[in-house]
Amino acid sequence: MKIAVASGKGGTGKTMVATSLAATAAKDHPVRFLDCDVEAPNAHLFLNPTIERKEKAYIAVPKIDPAACTLCGRCVEVCTFHALAKLGTQILVFPQLCHGCGSCTLQCPVDAITEFPRPIGELFFGTTKENILFSMGELTISEPMPTPIIRQLKAHLSDEATLTILDSPPGASCSVVTTIHNADFLLLVTEPTAFGLHDLRQMLGIVEKTGTPAGVIINRAGVNYAPLEKLLEEQSIPVLMRIPYRNEIAAALASGQLLTESFPEYKPAFIHLLQDIDRLMGDV
């Protein structure tokens, strides 16, 4: 089963939930953890994996052989990302705009295009003390495109691990969609504020499109925030956990501790969370 932890708004506690869930589940299941927030990956700071292997993340970018190119312009015409341009007697390639789709290579009538792998990030693989198979992607500084890295990271999904936890980036666009694509369950972490609510609506919009079963965790819960409770009731999205705001929790997380490690009283809550997710999946 693949559980993706997402939020819309940043800083709501996705990584806190994903890491504590992984550490708790690892007691009974083989667990694989994917940190898909490749722009700002933080899960390793809490799970402290021993990194055993690294691999470059690439995007396949066209290279044009000027001797073979007839300047017909077909490649420029088919590129929907405007990554190619004809300028005078040459075809220019803008690597940072290229999505690596291969259309230009396929359409070149004289086979003047080859592709070369352009590194845009790195993948890390390791194991934690809980025996979690840990992996994360990291976008290289000043590179714009996170999604190819997330795809390459997710390509390592097929293995014996029975439970996979994907820690998603914030937002509600490309990189989030790439992360949660084909997930079996979506765990949405929100906070009871107007900001949290607005951004949760964005995520529920994605849930509507994918039809993925979902549940919500309300972090920094205090007094019930009526508009949030109302929305969740209307959309029949279950609240699976409420974590109150406490200065001590904020400080423990800031120092790099797992929630379930510094506050063991949360362990049963995460065991229940897994059971609830199982039950909700069974209902589908």
Binding site: G10, C101, P144, G171, S173, N247
Partner: protein
């Protein structure tokens, strides 16, 4: 000389990590800028999770469609199930025929709109359709004009939408003699962050003490240095974990960057969000509001040599 003085200065608010308080601080700066000698205009460039309008009493005057990405669509009657589309698609976006739907289909969430399938289909059964990815707005607030947008859930092209709202704000600034554009940026370091930072005269980074906050702060500093954007750093919730605050100060010192101020953890900020107002207006005497005033002073001195 005169031209130089009238030049529009751009301030972009960034953080790397999400949820460090960019929007609350931006709202405070909007309020303070509107009460200063400056003539400001504002942009919310976090189009995935646009929250600035919620705390600035924004009333939209105009809304515009944002057409962005393309999606492939297969006409079932024309599809002969040859499978060439699936062979060329590098995004796994072609769904194979099923019993109920015995033709190839496009997985809209995986499709990048590259058209590789369109060009190889021997039956010309595949077309590209441009999508409406969102909407952008020009709104009036008590603090000035706000240009903001809502990217539709699961839509693409957030970088392009960021560029659109910024361009609109700059056109407005030109026509109305504005001298300051404040851009509330998105989290992360990728495409929308780069779009939000393009042309910036100054970035104000909102850091949060803690292992995640400092890790992501380091990455956004490196990103901005790559693009030669001058940086100011402020620390939010500076008193929740003081060792973390010290770590931020040493990192900032290592890069030789100026510290613009520290904002303490203050219930006035969540309360101001509930009240849908900038904290500087909702609780002007609160510790957070005073800290933001100090940061605003530093921004003015840095951008305009005054304050």
């Amino acid at each position: 000389m005169l031209n130089n003085d009238l030049k529009l200065k751009q301030l972009v608010m960034l953080s790397g990590k999400g949820g460090t308080g960019k929007t609350s601080l931006t709202a405070g700066l909007m309020d303070l800028a509107s009460r200063s000698w400056r003539h400001p205009v504002f942009t919310d460039a976090d189009v995935d999770a646009a929250n600035l309008a919620l705390v600035t009493e924004a009333v939209p005057d105009q809304s515009h469609l944002f057409m962005g990405s393309f999606l492939a669509e297969i006409t079932p009657e024309q599809c002969q199930n040859c499978g060439m589309c699936a062979d060329v698609c590098r995004y796994g976006a072609i769904l194979l025929p099923t019993e109920n739907q015995p033709w190839h289909r496009v997985d809209e969430l995986a499709c990048e709109g590259c058209a590789a399938c369109v060009h190889v289909c021997p039956e010309t059964a595949i077309q590209l359709h441009q999508q409406q990815d969102g909407e952008w707005f020009q709104s009036t607030t008590p603090y000035g004009q706000l240009f903001h947008a809502e990217l539709f859930p699961a839509a693409e092209n957030s970088g392009k939408l960021v560029t659109t709202v910024k361009q609109q704000a700059k056109l407005y600034a030109q026509d109305n003699g504005c001298d300051l554009l404040i851009v509330d940026g998105p989290p992360g370091i990728g495409c929308p962050v780069i779009s939000a930072s393009a042309g910036a005269d100054l970035a104000l980074l909102v850091a949060e003490p803690g292992v995640s906050g400092i890790h992501d702060l380091d990455r956004i500093i490196q990103t901005l240095q790559e693009f030669n954007v001058p940086i100011l750093v402020c620390i939010n919730k500076a008193d929740i974990f003081t060792p973390g605050t010290e770590d931020i100060k040493s990192l900032v010192g290592k890069y030789g960057l100026p510290l613009a101020g520290e904002i303490p953890f203050d219930e006035a900020i969540p309360d101001s969000i509930s009240a849908m107002q900038p904290v500087t207006r909702f609780a002007p005497e609160s510790p957070a509001a005073h800290a933001i005033e100090q940061i605003w002073g530093t921004i003015q001195r840095t951008l305009f040599g005054e304050g």
